[in-house]
C-alpha cells in the first residue's frame, strides 16, 4: 500500500487502471502533447528511442483504455490522442504535470501497481479455475 495521497486521485486511478508500462506512459504523454499530430508506430518508436514492438503494444493498450484512436491508413495506420471522456483528458493532463514535477513519485507508484497486478492476477486465476464450464468465447 503506497501512500500516494500527495498525488491527485484521478491520476492514481489512471495509473492503476490504464498505465502498465513506462512505454505506455511515454507514448501517452507524447501523443497528448502533440495531440494534433497523427503518428505511425515507426514514427513514435524513432522519436522515443523505443522498440517498435513495445510501442505497438503500448498503443493497443492505450486504445482499449480509451485514450488513443487509430486511423487506418497506408502504408501504416496512424495513431492520435483521443480521450473518450473529458475526465480522462483532465487526468492525463494532471499526470503530465505530476510526471514533470515529481517523476520519481510516479515511477514508484507504477512499480507498486505492477506488483499489485502480479499478485492479484494469480489470485484471479485461482478463483477463475473453479468455474466448471469454460466460456466458449475464448476458443476459436
Amino acid at each position: 500500500m503506497s501512500d500516494g495521497d500527495d498525488l491527485p486521485q484521478d491520476v492514481r486511478a489512471l495509473l492503476h487502471e490504464h498505465i502498465e508500462s513506462y512505454e505506455q506512459l511515454e507514448v501517452l504523454l507524447l501523443l497528448r502533447r502533440e495531440r494534433y499530430e497523427e503518428w505511425t508506430v515507426a514514427g513514435l518508436a524513432a522519436r522515443l528511442h523505443v522498440d517498435a514492438e513495445l510501442v505497438a503494444s503500448a498503443l493497443a493498450r492505450l486504445e482499449s483504455a480509451g485514450l488513443a484512436a487509430t486511423t487506418p491508413a497506408s502504408p501504416a495506420p496512424r495513431f492520435a490522442y483521443r480521450p473518450k471522456s473529458s475526465g480522462l483528458d483532465a487526468a492525463a493532463g494532471r499526470l503530465d504535470r505530476e510526471y514533470a514535477e515529481r517523476p520519481i513519485r510516479i515511477i514508484q507508484l507504477m512499480s507498486a501497481n505492477a506488483i499489485d497486478r502480479l499478485r492479484t492476477a494469480a489470485l484471479h486465476t485461482f478463483a477463475d479455475a473453479f468455474v466448471l464450464k469454460k466460456r466458449d468465447d475464448h476458443h476459436g
Binding site: R119, T120, L123, F126, A127, D128, F130, V131, L132, K133
Partner: protein, 89 residues
C-alpha cells in the same frame, strides 16, 4: 505425538485461512471468503481432535467428522456460488 500433529495441522489451516481472508479483501472474490471459513472449520476439526484425543478408533467418532463435514460443505457451497455468479453473462 498425535496431539502435536493435530496442533500443527490446526495452526497451518488457521494461517491458510488468514491468507484467504486477505485475498478476499484484496480481490473481492467471494470464493476466498468461503475458503477462509472452510479452513477455519478445518482448524476447529483438528483442534477438537486434539482436545478429545480419543484413544482408539477415533475416525468413527462424531467429533472427528462433523466439523470436517461442515468445512468441506462450505467449500462446495463456495464453488457452487462461484459458478452461479460466473454463469451470468
Amino acid at each position: 505425538m498425535r496431539t502435536f500433529a493435530w496442533g500443527v495441522l490446526a495452526m497451518a489451516s488457521l494461517v491458510a485461512s488468514l491468507f484467504f481472508l486477505r485475498y478476499w479483501r484484496a480481490t473481492r472474490e467471494r470464493l476466498f471468503a468461503f475458503f477462509s471459513v472452510a479452513f477455519v472449520g478445518l482448524t476447529a476439526n483438528w483442534t477438537v481432535l486434539a482436545i478429545v484425543n480419543h484413544p482408539v478408533d477415533e475416525a468413527r467418532q462424531a467429533h472427528a467428522y462433523v466439523i470436517r463435514l461442515v468445512a468441506f460443505v462450505v467449500l462446495i457451497v463456495g464453488i457452487i456460488d462461484k459458478n452461479r455468479r460466473s454463469g451470468r453473462p
